[in-house]
């Protein structure tokens, strides 16, 4: 089905398709994630009074912290399945380049987290009566760039954490410090759009730079992580 010259994209596509198919079949994961997203929004609504005037200022931060937690839970899950079935060893032995595997995993995680965000957003809008006072269309690239920033590093660090004790806690321990500039950018960009007070332009540029830098670094170094037995 895939020609020799197109092996990288073939492998990426095939792995991605397999992951998505597996996720779709194991409805448990999806159901629990759905419920988790709802819970997160509700808990946040109790903790941070949605009726206060300040909500509009902090909503950007709230939303992204919620997304961050959802992403960490999702990321922890996706590699665990690979480990259970010793798929990782199969990948290492196969001639497929490590990059394709990484890209497939990252894209799969991206789709997974994006779905969660799409589910949580209407709830947030409802509970916090959110309305964008600035150019609302900019929220889409912000969401996409922000999610990718979390997912690309998250996938890398999740793979790194595979061979550590306390695997689940290791991922956020590694991910959060590195993600701080991206988080700052996501939150401030979103707040800028919601309040309409400032321009999100600089933040979008920063996010894009962050994404480019770290996507390249992840692709370059993933082989090392995969081969670390």
């Amino acid at each position: 089905m895939s020609k020799t010259s197109a092996i990288p994209s073939g492998v990426t596509g095939a792995t991605l398709a397999k992951d998505l198919r597996l996720e779709w079949r194991s409805k448990d994961a999806i159901n629990s994630m759905l419920f988790f997203s709802l819970l997160v929004v509700v808990v946040f609504s109790f903790s941070f009074d949605p009726n206060a005037e300040e909500s509009r200022q902090i909503a950007g931060g709230l939303v992204w912290v919620a997304f961050l937690f959802a992403a960490v839970v999702a990321l922890n899950q996706t590699w665990a399945r690979e480990l259970r079935n010793q798929v990782l060893d199969a990948y290492r032995v196969s001639p497929a380049p490590a990059n394709s595997l990484f890209l497939a995993k990252a894209l799969g995680n991206f789709i997974f987290v994006a779905v969660l965000e799409i589910l949580m957003t209407p709830l947030f809008i409802m509970f916090y009566k959110l309305r964008a006072l600035g150019p609302a269309w900019q929220l889409l690239p912000i969401a996409a760039l922000g999610t990718w920033a979390l997912v690309v590093n998250g996938t890398f660090f999740a793979a790194m954490s595979l061979r550590t004790r306390s695997r689940e806690i290791m991922l956020p321990l590694l991910l959060f410090p590195i993600s701080i500039p991206a988080l700052l950018a996501m939150v401030n960009a979103t707040t800028a759009i919601l309040t309409g007070e400032l321009s999100a332009k600089f933040w979008i540029v920063l996010l894009s730079t962050y994404n480019v830098v770290f996507t390249i670094v992840c692709l370059l170094l993933f082989e090392l992580v995969l081969n670390a037995e």
């Binding site: 410090p177 701080i180 500039p181 090392l224 992580v225």
Partner: protein, 288 residues
């Protein structure tokens, strides 16, 4: 061994230097006009910061070396890149007019040359395996010094500016650097892989790339939400500069001592582990 004898001599010298520097900082240095005596915290805060950054930079160099020295091509490319950076720094120092505020041409050129010098010195005197040991050492001691910075900073800020903390560029970048290296040390401690050094080195590279981004992101944030500047720049009284440099020298020597001790400990620990592993292989006796 001369090393054994050098250590106590160096230790004594450092102790003398530290005492002298302490005296200078507390007594001899002139009292600052606006801040009063509290400003003297500066003489401990700033040298600790510079030392911490130097140590973290050494860790970065070691991490890069550990990653590239396994591959001859990558190794050569990196060598030439380092040389190129040094040359670029020297050229830029004298070609770029005007330089950003606070930078002198001579210091830019010296920094570039120092970076290259440090890189090749480490390469010459440390084998690949030992470079990893140096990485652990510099990360650990760097975190200790960085902790000092983060503790003395608020203690200085509170009496002078009335607040314990502010999200200004330098403080926040230092905090993030501290967090990144704590996570680095946790990875080292919790990893069960045989390739921990590789993973840790990769993390150090991530961290190094992250720091400029942190700096830049806080800078954008500050231009949008102006806040008080802590430890504002500007010229410094030459007498104070002298005290500052003496304290820095003293702390550098102290850091050197601590690193040396930690390094010896690390080498010993690794030798012990290897011996234990060998023993386990060679003596398949029945357990007691």
């Amino acid at each position: 061994m001369t090393m054994r004898r050098l250590f106590p001599i160096f230790g004594l010298l450092t102790a003398v230097l530290l005492s002298y520097a302490l005296y200078e900082a507390l007594v001899a240095a002139p009292t600052e006009q606006t801040m009063g005596n509290v400003q003297r915290i500066f003489y401990y805060h700033v040298p600790s910061a510079w030392t911490a950054f130097l140590l973290f930079f050494i860790n970065f160099v070691c991490s890069i070396q550990y990653l590239v020295r396994s591959n001859p091509v990558a190794d050569k490319v990196t060598n030439w890149t380092v040389i190129a950076i040094a040359i670029a720094a020297c050229v830029a120092a004298f070609v770029i007019h005007p330089l950003p505020q606070g930078m002198e041409p001579s210091s830019v050129a010296t920094t570039g040359l120092a970076i290259a010098g440090l890189y090749f010195l480490i390469k010459k005197y440390f084998s690949r395996e030992r470079v990893d040991a140096l990485a652990v050492v510099s990360a650990e001691v760097g975190v200790v010094f960085c902790t000092v910075v983060l503790v003395t900073g608020p203690l200085w800020a509170r009496p002078v500016w009335g607040i314990w903390w502010t999200w200004d560029v330098r403080l926040t970048s230092t905090l993030v650097l501290w967090l990144i290296y704590i996570s680095y040390l946790m990875l080292r401690r919790f990893s069960t892989s045989g390739q921990t050094p590789v993973l840790a080195a990769a993390l150090a590279v991530f961290g190094a790339l992250d720091v400029p981004l942190v700096y830049f992101s806080i800078w954008i944030f500050r231009t949008q939400h102006p806040q008080p500047v802590i430890g504002g720049g500007g010229s410094i009284d030459p007498r104070m500069l002298q005290v500052l440099l003496i304290n820095w020298l003293a702390f550098l020597c102290f850091a050197g001592l601590v690193c040396w001790s930690r390094y010896r400990l690390e080498i010993l620990r690794r030798e012990l582990e290897e011996t234990q592993a060998l023993e386990a292989l060679l003596e398949p006796r029945s357990p007691q």
